[in-house]
Assembly symmetry: C2
Homo-oligomer: 207 residues x 2
């Protein structure tokens, strides 16, 4: 009686449009991929791309922030996949270290390749706080990095080391996409990834 309703499960309905929710999220992603400007992502523009009226999105999202959060959630899922692919799952000691560096490079390359999406992921805040699905998606992505760090350091310092690594690569990514480290790096994800890998290996000042 509840699961038999036409649009009970969001994202797989089959009525007028069929997949409006998914189409809107896809439209949002395409907007971010085209014009790096995050302010270009709007409800009306997304509806336009989905071939639907301007108010239709409100049947699937309570407000604009909710759509942004849904798009950001997809972004975190993509980031998690990218990190997992870069890690490779090596278990040796040297392999584990290289896996961490590869994750850092992938993190920065991801941000560099899709700056609009990356910025949205860390600014999407629906009604003051993040929706649960967004939190879960970001936590899942962080877990990939956190788990790798856990294989490299004692358990006691694992949490802080993971946070330090995250902050470092996140800082590099943010500075690069905001144009603070030279134009040559921003438009070249490979160069940005190489920079991240180099900074991760760098000897610390506390030597």
């Amino acid at each position: 009686m509840s699961a038999s309703r036409p649009g009970s499960d969001p994202g797989k309905g089959g009525y007028h449009h069929g997949e409006l929710r998914a189409a809107l999220v896809a439209a949002g992603l395409s907007i971010l991929e085209e014009g790096g400007d995050a302010s270009a992502l709007g409800l009306r523009e997304a509806a336009r791309r989905a071939g639907v009226s301007a108010m239709a999105p409100y049947r699937h999202f309570p407000d604009k922030d909710a759509l942004l959060a849904a798009v950001a959630t997809v972004g975190f899922e993509r980031l998690r996949c990218a990190l997992q692919a870069a890690d490779g799952g090596g278990e040796g000691d040297a392999d584990a270290r290289e896996a961490l560096y590869a994750q850092g490079a992938a993190y920065v390359a991801f941000a560099c390749a899709q700056p609009g999406l990356f910025r949205l992921m860390f600014s999407a805040r629906s009604g003051g706080s993040r929706p649960a699905t967004l939190c879960e998606a970001s936590a899942a992505a962080y877990a990939v990095l956190s788990d790798r760090v856990a294989t490299l350091v004692p358990a006691a310092s694992a949490a802080e080391e993971a946070l330090r690594s995250w902050a470092l690569v996140h800082g590099i990514a943010s500075l690069v996409i905001d144009g603070m480290v030279g134009e040559a790096v921003r438009s070249d994800p490979q160069a940005a990834a190489a920079l991240a890998s180099r900074l991760l290996r760098l000897e610390p000042i506390v030597g």
Copy 2:
């Protein structure tokens, strides 16, 4: 014939309003300080606070981005002052290291205390590229950190070490103000600064 014109030097006019340009920048700063939301900073709202018509700002800024850039420039100047104050100018070896840690803590505390302004500083981009004054202000702030790092490491690696330190503190600041590291830290600049200081001292994974 040119310098004798009433409003030749922007920012120090004395006509109808007197200091409209400065008043608009101040209004922008106050907007950012009140509602953490950066999207609340608009031309019309700034004009409203300055007690002037909605179109008046266009006599002092070509478009909205230019006002944002001017506000961001003030933000970088404030950040530079905060970093210089935190550094203290110590010259001993241990003092120098502590000065660097203090700068990192001050950087994160600044972002935590004024998240809207901090975000604007790294997203203000007038017409695709940053105005010269904004670049100079950000470079001046970075120089404070860069110079301190230069006193701690060999000249050959100074540039990369400085960038690494900047990325680390910038990453911490970004993650904190975007609510990715726990609510307790975000609303407490002191706690955020302590976190930054701790992560800066942390042993690296390459041990």
